[in-house]
Amino acid sequence: MPLASNFFSRPWVRWAAIAIVVVAVLAVPLGFSEYTNQNLARIGVFAVAVLGLNVVMGYTGQVSLGQIFFVGVGAYVTAYGATHGWNIIVVLVASTIVPGVIGLLVALAAARLGGLAIAMVTIALPIIGVPLAKRLSDYTGGSEGVSASFSNAPGWSGLYNDQWQLYMVIVVGGAVFLLTRNLVRGKYGRAFAIVKSNEAVAASMGISPYRYKVMAFTVASLIGGVSGFLYMAVIQFTSPETMTFSHSITLLASMVIGGSASIVGSLLGGAYYVLVPQWTNSINPNLTELLQGAILLLTLFLFPGGLVTLAREITQRVRRPNRHSSGPEQQHTSAAEAVSSHGEAEQDPTVTGISTERQHKS
């Protein structure tokens, strides 16, 4: 093993591996059918939403039942901007900032409360959000919702719409994942972790639990806004239905199923959010709820830590043969797996996670 880890900790090997993965991901939209591409784009949209929830709940330990509200606000701002002909970068910035500001205001009050109380304040967001969206029909189109198609492929690209949209999701979503990974791996991530485990200890170390809770909540709502932007880019339609309480609950379930406090888990959660309802619907629409509930319980029975524990176990199984072999060829063949199992390079398994999902689908 030391030999192998030496090999993979060499900078040029890691950069080469990352480059290969990036090229592979960028080639994905070109090689699949429209149906698969759209599914992948949706998974990306909700993976970003789950990632946001993970920042506040998984990493900082504050139960939030309102994440879907910020996704909805982001989608509405995007729709408003797009129908008024704003530049797409301005739309992206606005659809991130507006939910972020709302999130900050809510957090300033909510973060004073501990434990369940914060859950109850956040539960209010989707529940009030739905009638509010219907009421503000000048901006939101009321119950009928609003559609905007700003994400069609431009002529010079020579791409189909679904390929262009998937590229948008990969670029924007990938950037969010990278930034969030850096956030939770660094100084702020450690502060979040100590606030989660014990607020008194955090305070005694000079880390204000209040400030970091507000910060985590605000970051979560910013990320939710980006997810809303991508939602609008991929689905091109939103209505009050987008931010119902039941969707918020499903988002929470997806986060725990994927794996709490895990970057890879967020991707798995996004896949769960999109694929499981599709799958149960295709079996028998009348049994959808029954099957979803059963799958949820079964998953948690088998993997209380979420699907990410399964992924970790697999990468460990793959690693083991490495340990006993010293031939350089063998290390080469399992390069992708070994990099993904490498503790520091958690960005890579996210990509392996996506590709296995894709192979199931196609």
Binding site: M57, V63, A109, R112, L113, G114, L116, A117, M120, V121, I123, A124, I127, I128, P131, L132, K134, R135, N198, A200, V201, F245, S246, I249, L252, A253, V256, I257, S260, N286, L287, T288, E289, L290, L291, Q292, G293, A294, L296, L297, L300, F301, P304
Partner: protein, 293 residues
């Protein structure tokens, strides 16, 4: 004036529905330290069971009693075979388990009895009496009285009996409770069973008014959770008072405050929560949880 009294009384009647569910949630929380999102779903399942028995010719009262009994057993078994596995783990996971349970139970109801509305026979007559110019149905009065009786019984159970003391001890510290010789496992099962039985009562009281559907309790659950937080997790009386307050204020705001209207009246309890929690984070009637560091 007549309209005002009517609104208050209707509000109390709605609030009573939230209150029973809220009491069941408090019971589970006091006994196991968890919040059970499936409480409403379990109540719906019990209501379907009651309805199914009356369809097969059983008298309503007997059907309700039987389904309360069945619910007690089912609640205990759920705790033993599903919830027990997650009690010591991550609290977030435990919450999601109860969400999964809610989805599963709703799915089972929809699968067995379809998603169409069913007429549920009322335990109390629908005739109304006139009180200060407001028409009050016997059903509202009956529901109201049942709630008050349950609330007082629960308060007495938790504060006045050895059994209630044991339940609280298990919730606060299972290890010390076990060392003092309490049968922790059986007490946890009993707590869940009691809450499920209470839910069955709630289901039977609510179903005639809302008509029976698998999602009947979803809205009530949200209000019940609001009442639980507002009243404080440790106080049955506080929770019921909070539920009534929510019901009444919501009704009044919908009619008298133009901006709110009927569509935004759902915001009222949450606005209330917001204000109360800033001033008293432990709820109106709850005791502050003291955690040793």
């Amino acid at each position: 004036m007549g309209q005002f009294i009517q609104l208050v009384i209707d509000g109390l009647s709605n609030g009573s529905i939230y209150a029973v569910l809220a009491l069941a949630i408090v019971l589970v929380n006091q006994a196991t330290g968890m919040v059970n999102f499936a409480q409403g779903g379990m109540a719906v399942l019990a209501a379907y069971l009651t309805w199914w028995m009356t369809e097969h010719g059983l008298p309503l009262l007997l059907a309700i009693l039987l389904s309360v009994l069945v619910s007690f057993v089912v609640g205990g078994l759920l705790e033993r075979f599903v919830i027990r596995r997650f009690e010591r783990g991550d609290p977030d996971t435990a919450v999601v388990v109860t969400i999964g349970l809610l989805t599963l139970i709703t799915g089972i109801c929809g699968w067995l009895w379809s998603y169409n509305n069913k007429q549920f026979p009322s335990l109390f007559s629908l005739h109304t009496v006139n009180i200060f110019g407001a028409a009050v149905s016997f059903r509202s009065i009956g529901t109201f009285l049942v709630i008050v009786a349950i609330m007082l019984a629960l308060q007495a159970l938790f504060l006045g009996t050895r059994f209630g003391l044991a339940l609280r001890a298990v919730a606060i510290n299972p290890d010390s409770a076990a060392l003092s010789g309490l049968p922790v496992g059986r007490l946890l099962m009993a707590g869940w069973g009691l809450a499920a039985a209470l839910g069955a009562v709630a289901g039977a009281l609510v179903a005639p008014q809302l008509t029976l559907t698998p999602g009947m309790m979803d809205e009530a659950l949200v209000y019940a959770l609001a009442a639980v937080i507002l009243g404080g997790l440790s106080s049955p009386i506080g929770v019921v008072l909070a539920a009534w307050m929510i019901g009444v204020l919501e009704n009044l705001a919908a009619v008298y405050v133009d901006f709110i209207g009927h569509d935004l009246s759902v915001a009222v309890p949450f606005f209330l929560i917001f204000v109360v929690l800033i001033v008293r984070p432990q709820g109106l009637f709850g005791r502050k949880a003291v955690v040793r560091v």
